[in-house]
């Protein structure tokens, strides 16, 4: 099972905001048992999808040099359920960045109406406490982002397309 809870990036402005689509399908196993006979996308997986979108927004801003993890769901309000056939439009905005983490405000819309409002706090794993193991191999992260068509839409703060790589260890910047 692929733990991808967004289907495609639709925009990505480095250090600022990102949008993505999540299609809800009856074929998804996660819908089967959550509420028997009444399939809908479990709200925690909407949070997960927004965390994936927001997490990439934060990680890219940090040049993929920090290990970014979801530390806290600061606020979560759901206005409606997402059923099979629905298409959710996710939006994540980078609110602020600190030495130890970042705050991201997210929304999900369905038919132009608010579906969820979620605020997420991400933390950067500290080497002293959590070792130095990377969370992803760079090529795996690049592949994942490629599958989500990240590089087709992602631009840097000046509006130039981002390089198709997540390995910025030798980045000139």
């Amino acid at each position: 099972m692929r733990w991808f809870w967004i289907d495609r990036f639709t925009s990505f402005h480095s250090g600022r905001e990102a949008t993505a689509i999540k299609n809800v399908s009856l074929v998804e196993e996660a819908l089967d048992d959550y509420c028997l006979g009444y399939p809908y996308l479990p709200p925690p997986l909407i949070i997960e999808g927004l965390a994936q979108l927001g997490g990439v927004l934060v990680a890219e801003h940090m040049n993929f040099q920090k290990r970014v993890v979801l530390a806290k769901v600061v606020r979560a309000v759901f206005h409606q359920l997402a059923a099979p056939g629905d298409q959710l439009h996710y939006h994540a905005v980078l609110e602020s960045v600190q030495d130890e983490g970042a705050m991201v405000s997210c929304t999900s819309k369905l038919h132009e109406q608010p579906q969820a409002e979620i605020q997420l706090m991400f933390a950067f794993l500290n080497e002293n406490r959590f070792g130095e193991m990377p969370l992803f191999k760079p090529e795996e992260l690049t592949t994942m982002l490629r599958l989500m068509r990240f590089f087709e839409v992602a631009v840097d703060p000046a509006g130039r397309p981002l390089d198709v790589t997540t390995d910025r260890s030798i980045s000139p910047q």
Binding site: V74, E95, S96, E100, M121
Partner: protein, 135 residues
């Protein structure tokens, strides 16, 4: 970044904003956030909540809060300032210099490093913010 200079804000205004930040960050009720309440022991703050509190205070007051301001880990892990699990007199001086807004009088009586985590009160946070906005 910031919301302009907020100097001159009354201590009541500062308390209300700090209270609101703590209510949001910790999921506690308004009346639990008294000036004497400790963030960890009384309000149940966990280590990750401090980052959330920092974000909320930065936004509410338009200030920047460097990590070392609120968590003087470098002092508490420095063998020059700690002996047998207790902060030395020299270490206490250093802590006071770093955190002049914190009430360390109780901690000083038995300055065990392990107790430092539950030291900060709501009032301390208000004084810290006042020191940052020049109130």
């Amino acid at each position: 970044m910031g919301h302009g200079n907020q100097a001159g804000m009354s201590s009541e205004d500062v308390f209300e904003k700090v209270q609101s930040a703590l209510v949001d960050a910790l999921g506690v009720e308004d009346d639990e956030v008294t000036p004497e309440a400790t963030l960890v022991g009384d309000l149940g703050a966990e280590s990750i909540d401090f980052l959330d509190i920092v974000f909320k205070l930065e936004k509410a007051f338009g200030i920047q809060i460097p990590r070392e301001d609120l968590s003087p880990e470098d002092i508490l892990t420095n063998s020059q300032y700690v002996q047998d699990g207790k902060v030395t007199a020299q270490g206490l001086t250093e802590l006071k210099r770093r955190m002049p807004w914190a009430d360390l009088s109780k901690f000083e009586q038995n300055p065990r490093v392990q107790d430092f985590g539950d030291l900060l009160t709501v009032q301390d946070m208000c004084r810290y913010v006042q020191s940052k906005i020049g109130g």
